[in-house]
Amino acid sequence: MKASGLKPIATPPAQRLRQVQTTILPVVVFFGAVLLVAVLWREHVGATITTGRDTAKSNEVLQKQVAELTRLASEGEPSYSSLQLTNAAHISRLSAGSARTVIINVRPGELVDISVQTAAD
C-alpha cells in the first residue's frame, strides 16, 4: 500500500463539539469574564476621596473638589423629597430619594454640587 496522496479522514461532529467544549469554550468564558470585569471596573470601581453626610432636614452637600459622584446610599426611614445634582458629569448610580441620612461618596473625575431637599421643605 502507498500512503502518498491520502486525504485526512473526517472528524465526526461529536468529536468536533468535544474539541470546542474543551479548547474554545474556556477561552471564551475567560475573556468574557475579563470583559465583564473591565466594564464593571470602569463603571463602578473607584476609591472614595470624600464622603459627605447630610442628616439635617434641609441641607446642601457641596463638593468643590474635582470629583465624580459614584454612590448615593440611603439609610433609615424615607424623608427626602428630592435630590438635585448640578455639574455632575457622571453619575454611576442615583437612587433618588428617600432617606433621613444620605451618604455621598465622591471620587476624582468631575466637579459635583449636590443639594438635598427634605419632604418638609
Binding site: S4, L6, I9, P12, T22, P26, V29, A33, V37, A73
Partner: protein, 228 residues
C-alpha cells in the same frame, strides 16, 4: 432585579452587589490565569485536574469569605473553628473535595450572618464555576489519545510516507522515541497520536499493517494525563 432580593442582606454596612459581583469575577479571572499557567508549565508526574480546578475556585471562595466577614473578627474566628472541625473530622484526600467543603461552609456562614442575598449570589457563582469545570473538562491535559509502537524496516529517508499515513488519522503526531542499533537496519518508533476520530483507530492499524515497511505495529489507548 427585584428589590426584595437586593434587600436580603442585614448588616451595619449595606452590601454593594456590583462590587460583590466584580470581586467574584475578578477572583475567577485571576484564578483562571494562575490555573492556565500551572497547566502549561507543569512538568512533573503529579499532575492533578482537581488541583487545577481548585486553583480557580479557591480565590472565588476566599473573596466571598472576605465579603461575608466584612472586617468582623468574631465571625472570622467562627469560620476558622468550623473549617478546622470539618477538616479534622474527615480525611479529605482531594483538593477539590476540600474546596467543596469550604464552599458549603462559606454559604452557611453567609446565611448565618444574615447575608441572604450574598449567600444566594455566592452559591450561584460557585455552582456556575463547578458546572463550567464539568462541561469543559477543564484541567484535563489530553495531548494524545493513542500510543503507537512499530518497527520501520525501510530506509529512514522513506519515513515521510509513514508520517503521511499517521497524519491522515491524527491531528497531532509526536514521535516520542526513535531507536536504532548496529547491525539492524530498522528503526523502533513510538508515536503519541491525537486522533481525528478515536473510534476509527482500528482503520489506522489496518492501513499501517498494509503499508510496506511497517512491522510489529501495536497500539494502546491513552486517557488524559491526570492522576487517578
Amino acid at each position: 432585579m427585584s428589590d426584595w432580593f437586593l434587600r436580603g442582606d442585614y448588616g451595619v454596612v449595606p452590601t454593594d452587589y456590583t462590587v460583590l459581583a466584580m470581586a467574584l469575577l475578578l477572583a475567577f479571572v485571576c484564578g483562571h490565569a494562575v490555573a492556565w499557567t500551572y497547566m502549561f508549565t507543569h512538568t512533573g508526574l503529579s499532575y492533578s485536574r482537581s488541583y487545577v480546578n481548585s486553583l480557580i475556585i479557591l480565590p472565588v471562595l476566599v473573596a466571598l469569605v472576605m465579603m461575608v466577614l466584612a472586617n468582623n473578627l468574631i465571625i472570622a474566628f467562627g469560620l476558622m473553628a468550623i473549617f478546622a472541625m470539618v477538616r479534622f473530622r474527615s480525611v479529605l484526600r482531594d483538593t477539590l473535595d476540600t474546596t467543596y467543603v469550604l464552599a458549603t461552609i462559606v454559604i452557611g456562614l453567609a446565611c448565618g450572618t444574615l447575608k441572604f442575598t450574598s449567600a444566594i449570589i455566592g452559591c450561584l457563582a460557585i455552582l456556575a464555576i463547578m458546572l463550567y469545570f464539568w462541561a469543559t473538562g477543564f484541567g484535563t491535559r489530553q495531548r494524545y489519545d493513542l500510543i503507537l509502537n512499530l518497527q520501520w524496516v525501510r530506509p529512514a529517508g522513506e519515513m515521510p510516507e509513514l508520517l503521511q499515513l499517521l497524519e491522515r488519522h491524527a491531528r497531532s503526531v509526536l514521535c516520542a522515541s526513535q531507536r536504532s542499533s548496529d547491525g539492524y537496519a530498522g528503526v523502533d518508533l513510538s508515536y503519541r497520536l491525537l486522533m481525528r476520530d478515536p473510534a476509527r483507530s482500528h482503520e489506522l492499524m489496518a492501513e499501517l499493517k498494509a503499508l510496506n515497511g511497517v512491522a510489529r505495529a501495536s497500539s494502546l489507548s491513552a486517557g488524559d494525563e491526570s492522576e487517578l
